[in-house]
Every structure is written in C-alpha cells, then in structure tokens.
Symmetry: C2
Subunit: 174 residues, 2 copies
C-alpha cells in the first residue's frame, strides 16, 4: 500500500513538473484548450438538490440546481475550491401559472414547472483540463444535443464575474 | 419461499377480514384516527427532486418537492395510487432577489432561495393508518418541531380538492 501511495505521489509530482514545462499559453493556445463538455453526465436527474431559483427576463424560467455526490459534499462542508470531479447541473422549466392549484387556493398564486426550457446546463470541475476557464468546463444540452460553441462561449464571461465564489452562482439551500 | 409467501397472503387476507369487521366509523371515530405524522422522515434532504414551484400571496416562497425512492418510482412510472411507503417532502425558502446575480446580469431578474420558510411538510402514504384522509398522513415541522394540530387540520381539506390526482398537487418535472 505504501509503495502504491509513493508511486502515485511521484507520478503526480512528475505531472506537475510537465505542466510547468508547458509554455504559458497565449490567446490562440487558450482557444485550443477543451473548455466545453460534450457528453451529458449520466444519471444527473437523480442527483441531490443544491437549490432552486427563478429567472425573470428573457430566461423566464423556474430552475433547480442539482449536484453529484462530490458537489453536495463540498457544498455542505463549505470548502473551496470545489474538488475535481464536482459536477453541478442546472435544470430549468417554463414558469407556468397552475390553474388547477389556483382553483383550490381560490386565487392566482401558484406557479409551477412547465415543459423543460433553456436546456440542461452543467459545470464540470477539472482543474487541469479546464484550466483556462477557472477549472470549470461548461455544457448545455438542448433536447439531449450539445449546444453550439457560440452558446457555450457565453458561459464563462458571466461566471468569471463571481470568481471569488469559485465561479459558482448558486448557494446551498438548507 | 413459497410457504412464506402463502403465510403472508393468509395474514394479509385475515387483516382484511378484521378490517371489514370493524364497524364503519362515524365523525367521532375518524377524529381518533392518527392522521398526522409526528416524526421527521430521516434523510429527506437527500431525496430526489420531483419538481419546483413558486407560491405568491401569503405563502410568498420558492419551493422544492422531493420524494423518497418509492415516490420517485411511482411518479416516473405514472402509476396511481401511490404505494404505501410513498413520502413526498415539500421544502420552502423565502423568495429573495439576488443582488449578486443581478449585478452580473445587469438587471433585476434573479430570485433565489433565502432562509427556510413555511416549515418542511410531508405527505406519508399508508392506506390503512391514514384511511380517513385518503391514505395520506400529513406533517409540518417548523425548526424541527411538529406544527400544532390546528395547522395540520388545514392540510387535508385543501388536498381533498384534488382527489382525482390522489390528493397530490405536484406533477413530476422531467
């Protein structure tokens, strides 16, 4: 066991050295780095809830933010940075007034999730693979198909604004 | 194995006979039946998401509806009635405008989950135990403490209005 640990440390150290030997990348190099996630993380609909939100304006949706086990653990422990392997999923649905609920309540007060809207989005943490975008790879899938690169290029500029919170908007809702 | 199954069927049949031997209960008897759940179902915050909603008016919250494994299975299979053991949890939080999100978006559009609000509610399916309220036991916990009976007595009259959907308001959000 100790020997395996030693070998792993040696490999990790070597990888670090190699990483440092790669010349600092300019703009052209950064664009060559894969910053987008192209496969839907399996089983995401079964992940646990981080929080919920409502976006008005053009988005006009109601949403749930789910996390894989690594994400939930990191959130609950309140530790930053999020470890590699963290995946955060953003599901969204049309913001729909519920007529059947309102009939029971006797007033228009109830808004529920309608059909899926604005795709399903993911942030995948891999500090090496996605080093040029804060360690996060971004993804959006519309009806299961990855969104165009033009769409994905809009992710990081927004998330960059909350660098202090490790590029993640959503707080954990207890 | 077959013998065990046979014995179980025999016991179940006997229980059915005994149930039928109990005289039809009047109003006074119904009130003696335990229709409220007094213990928080363990681990509910780890359950999977059924859907999300926003309630305006006096409630004024944003909410998530979670289900235990039996609930999620029943929802996904679209089978009614919900089997005994189904538990549906309703978490709710203050509906809070997110100033940090809006600063990034450049406009007031983002509403998120603030502190917990309106307690945590549960519906527990047990068709025998809660027979007098459609097979559902109701619960609300405020800061971990069960709500007064007066509060809980307001649950069923509302849910009764959607008897056709087995007394459950929330649809599954894909």
């Amino acid at each position: 066991m100790r020997r395996i640990v030693f070998v792993l440390i040696a490999v990790a150290a070597l990888a670090g050295v190699v990483a440092h030997m790669v010349p600092a990348s300019g703009q052209a190099d950064q664009e060559a780095v894969p910053i987008f996630v192209t496969e839907i993380p399996p089983g995401y609909r079964d992940w646990r809830l981080i929080s919920v939100a409502r976006e008005e304006g053009i988005l006009n949706d109601i949403r749930a933010i789910l996390g894989n086990d690594i994400a939930i653990k990191a959130y609950r422990e309140g530790k930053l940075p999020y470890p590699d392997g963290t995946i955060i999923a953003r599901l969204a649905w049309s913001y729909v007034q519920s007529e059947e609920n309102n009939k029971v309540f006797g007033r228009p007060q109830s808004f529920v999730a309608g059909p899926p809207k604005n795709g399903v989005q993911f942030m995948v943490k891999d500090s090496k693979k996605y080093a040029s975008t804060g360690g996060w790879g971004f993804a959006q899938f519309d009806d299961g198909k990855p969104a165009d690169e033009a769409v994905l290029k809009t992710c990081f500029p927004c998330h960059e604004a909350i660098k202090a919170r490790e590029f993640v908007f959503t707080h954990y809702a207890p």
